[in-house]
């Protein structure tokens, strides 16, 4: 059964709808809600109440995960504006960005076989690219100019690429230990 809940995730946590949200406040509100709705609070209730509370607890977890992650938060806010960032439906990317990604990947392969230092340098570069794009996404999504939303969509897609690159760098770092 689908649970009846029609508010958006920001409403759920009673926080302002904003890309540059206060993550501490989000976490506090998340904990408060789970204190009330987590199935452990219904351990001795009927099976039905336990099942329904588990559905709500899962939704609260999903909402928290979505808003807590910069890429997922961006995609979610775009979807609230009716913009789909689903990769299956949209494979167009800025050619210049794609070129940069290919270069980054080559650098990663080279760093993998050279040193931890090289990986750290690459990591710094990716982190700074990531932070820069996050700031831009925030400006657009928290601004008032809806014509910019298309640009935000591109930026969020790029954040997703960078986030994957970040994971790969970290995995490569593990092999040095």
């Amino acid at each position: 059964m689908q649970i009846p809940f029609e508010n958006n995730y920001f409403d759920l946590f009673s926080i302002e709808k904003s890309y540059s949200l206060d993550r501490h406040q989000l976490r506090d509100r998340f904990r408060e809600l789970q204190r009330q709705f987590h199935p452990d609070n219904f351990a001795s209730a009927t099976e039905q109440d336990r099942r329904i509370s588990a559905q709500y607890a899962a939704m609260i977890n999903e909402a928290f995960t979505t808003l807590n992650d910069p890429v997922q938060r961006g995609r979610y806010m775009l979807s609230l504006n009716g913009i789909n960032t689903d990769e299956e439906h949209d494979t167009r990317m800025d050619p210049e960005f794609l070129m940069q990604q290919i270069e980054l990947r080559e650098e990663l392969d080279a760093a993998r076989s050279s040193s931890l230092d090289a990986l750290n340098q690459l990591s710094d570069k990716v982190e700074s690219d990531f932070a820069g794009r996050m700031a831009l996404v925030g400006e657009i999504l928290d601004g008032t100019d809806d014509n910019e939303l298309e640009k935000a969509r591109h930026l969020v897609r790029e954040l997703q690429f960078l986030s994957r690159m970040r994971n790969e760098i970290e995995e490569a770092e593990e092999s040095f230990f």
């Binding site: 009673s14 904990r31 408060e32 009927t46 999903e62």
Partner: protein, 626 residues
């Protein structure tokens, strides 16, 4: 608050009635049971005052089974019938434990069997049955000490246990006749025991090295909420492996490598190896004495620094998961406020030294590392059974390994990533790949790798009845649900016709429900009318609970959330259940409860949603008035 009132009827009818609950640490080497009495959690000792129960079971002819110390004492004399470390085999298929089996003296039955069984003097036994024997012994111990029947237990499992291992542990509990309220991750249990003692706030790493499993969990503690940020580990790494390395060294030293096929001798070497490891916790060196099969004796000495070198590979192997958990939590070593050391193997000095060096943080070793997990489980059990106010403490745990399904080309598409907070629900749509395809086979997997062959296969099922369409037009939505025990259920639904198939994932190589039932029937302690009487009693309690919960809910806000038709339908259904309940058919009662549940589900969901709206609104009002 409205939400708590939903809760009331389900709690004990008499608010002063104390229901018996216990926490069980089902360990590789030792198991324990603990409970909360007068607000204090403590481990329950056996009649001789010993708190540990060695996780060893000796099967003898005609069901004369020995459990714990008596079995441990016979390990060397009767290696083939005396089973230890069952936890390393539970929930694993024959092929998975191939390497493990090479180190074990046991004879296994059919190589191709889904559930590996060890041949004993009392017939073949699976790790599930061995674990059930241990749980039964602990249940008996607790019920004697508390003079009453246990209403519910919390059983701990390694955080890194996969779905199959968790399911198998739950099956063992079912065989032992235990009502499992929760499978709790061991490091989380340890954090509870520490956290509530010391009222700490901050981020902690729980390093849990047991006899055969290793877990590392990173938790954030904040105002009674224990939030697991990430977990990692190795479900086949522990003190046993140290013992084995020391044993190999001993065989080498005495030039008796060829004796490594002599089961009895090998058991003796393992026993002295473990004793030497333990002795070197307090002493700088120790003397190892062995009696060879030819009756001669050998004496060798081992000092701590030599042992440290021998066991270093095991300890070093734990540091990779330590790094991975930090990365998954998005934290740096410097973000960690302290390390809680859990599990008997953390007594080894070089384990403590290496962990302290790695994190460069304070180690917490205050609570007995053998008892801390059982104590945390007892505290959680006390809360779940309803003996203390909810809201005192909340545990938010994660799933240790990613879950996904097989897609074209033998690849795995992940649906739920590792370290997602549970309970969690995720769905993904897949399309048909052939024209006129009318069925889709769904293969559920767990693990981090990209190829199906590198992941753990959990289940396979088929969704049939897809209307024939062009390739890519048939859309199937696959939903994964992981509950608060970390157990998965999967459903698949075809979009155009709504054809739905739902499975609770029962690993294909675990015990089937029918097998568990059969075992229950076969066991002497569960005579068949016994089971029937118990089922009838259980269903009656559940029926009473469902009726009183609904009556209560309707009295509170039936006016708000129900129209007249719905109300009269519910009343009618309740009355019917009330009548069926008086008859002696458990299955009928169960069916009537399900009917009532289905009918009242929208009402219950509307009430829960109203509570959420209240929680949101309450907060908004607070914010504005500040």
């Amino acid at each position: 608050m409205a939400l708590l009132q939903i809760n009331e009827p389900g709690q004990s009818t008499n608010p002063h009635e104390h229901r018996l609950a216990a926490g069980i640490d089902l360990g590789t080497t030792n198991s324990l049971v603990a409970t909360v009495r007068s607000g204090e959690a403590s481990v329950l000792p056996d009649e001789e005052g010993r708190s540990l129960l060695p996780s060893v079971v000796r099967f003898r002819e005609k069901g004369d089974t020995q459990i714990g110390y008596p079995a441990l004492a016979e390990m060397v004399n009767d290696p083939l019938n005396t089973i230890s470390s069952a936890k390393r085999m539970i929930g694993r298929k024959t092929a998975d434990i191939k390497t493990l089996r090479d180190h074990l003296p046991y004879h296994f039955d059919d190589e191709s069997a889904n559930v590996p069984r060890i041949i004993t003097a009392d017939g073949p036994r699976s790790a599930i049955e061995v674990s059930a024997e241990i749980l039964t012994a602990l249940k008996k111990r607790a019920e004697q000490a508390l003079s009453g029947e246990l209403a519910g237990v919390v059983i701990t499992v390694p955080a890194y246990f996969d779905d199959a291992q968790r399911q198998a542990t739950k099956d063992a509990a079912r065989l032992a006749g235990l009502n499992v309220m929760r499978l709790l991750n061991e490091p989380t249990a340890a954090a509870v025991a520490y956290g509530l003692d010391e009222g700490s706030e901050g981020v902690y790493a729980i390093y849990d090295l047991g006899g055969g499993t290793f877990d590392i969990s990173i938790l954030r503690l904040n105002k009674g909420v224990f939030e697991v940020l990430a977990t990692a580990g190795d479900s086949a790494l522990g003190g046993d492996d140290m013992d084995r390395l020391i044993a190999e060294w001993i065989l080498d030293e005495i030039n008796q490598a060829e004796l490594s096929t002599d089961n009895q001798f090998l058991r003796q070497v393992m026993v002295v190896a473990r004793a030497a490891k333990e002795a070197l916790t307090d002493n700088d060196s120790t003397v190892i004495k062995l009696t060879l099969p030819d009756g001669s004796t050998q004496t060798i000495s081992l000092n701590r620094s030599r042992m440290n070198d021998i066991i270093a590979p095991v300890i070093d192997k734990t540091l990779l998961p330590c790094r991975r958990s930090l990365r998954d939590a998005g934290l740096d070593k410097t973000d960690i406020d302290g390390i809680v050391m859990v599990g008997g193997s953390t007594r080894v000095r070089s384990v403590q030294e290496k962990v302290e060096t790695f994190y460069n943080r304070k180690l917490y070793t205050g609570v007995d590392p053998d008892q801390v997990v059982a104590i945390g489980a007892a505290i959680q059990a006390d809360i779940l059974i309803g003996n203390r106010a909810t809201g005192d403490m909340l545990l938010l745990d994660v799933i240790p390994l990613s879950l996904g399904i097989e897609i074209m080309g033998g690849m795995v598409e992940k649906i739920i990533p590792r370290n997602a907070t549970i309970p969690v629900t995720r769905a993904q749509e897949f399309t048909t790949y052939k024209d006129g395809q009318t069925a889709m086979s769904i293969h559920v997997l767990q693990g981090e790798r990209e190829l199906v062959t590198d992941c753990r296969s959990l289940a396979r099922f088929e969704l049939k009845g897809i209307p024939p369409m062009a390739a890519g037009s048939g859309r199937v939505k696959v939903s994964f649900q992981v509950d608060a025990d970390g157990l998965l259920s999967v459903s698949a639904r075809e979009a155009t016709t709504g054809t739905e198939t739902r499975v609770d994932v029962k690993p294909s190589y675990g015990l089937t429900d029918a097998e568990v039932e059969q075992m229950l029937r076969d066991s002497i302690t569960h005579a068949s009318d016994d089971i029937q009487a118990r089922q009838l009693a259980e269903q009656r309690v559940e029926a009473d609970r469902a009726i009183s919960a609904l009556e209560n809910a309707m009295a509170i806000d039936g006016n708000t959330h129900l129209d007249d038709n719905e109300r009269s339908a519910l009343l009618e259904c309740m009355e019917a259940l009330g009548k069926i309940k008086e008859m002696d058919d458990a299955d009928n009662i169960k069916q009537a409860i399900n009917e009532l549940n289905d009918l009242s589900e929208p009402f219950a969901a509307r009430r829960m949603n109203a509570s959420i709206q209240d929680a949101m609104a309450g907060h908004n009002i607070n914010e504005f008035s500040e």
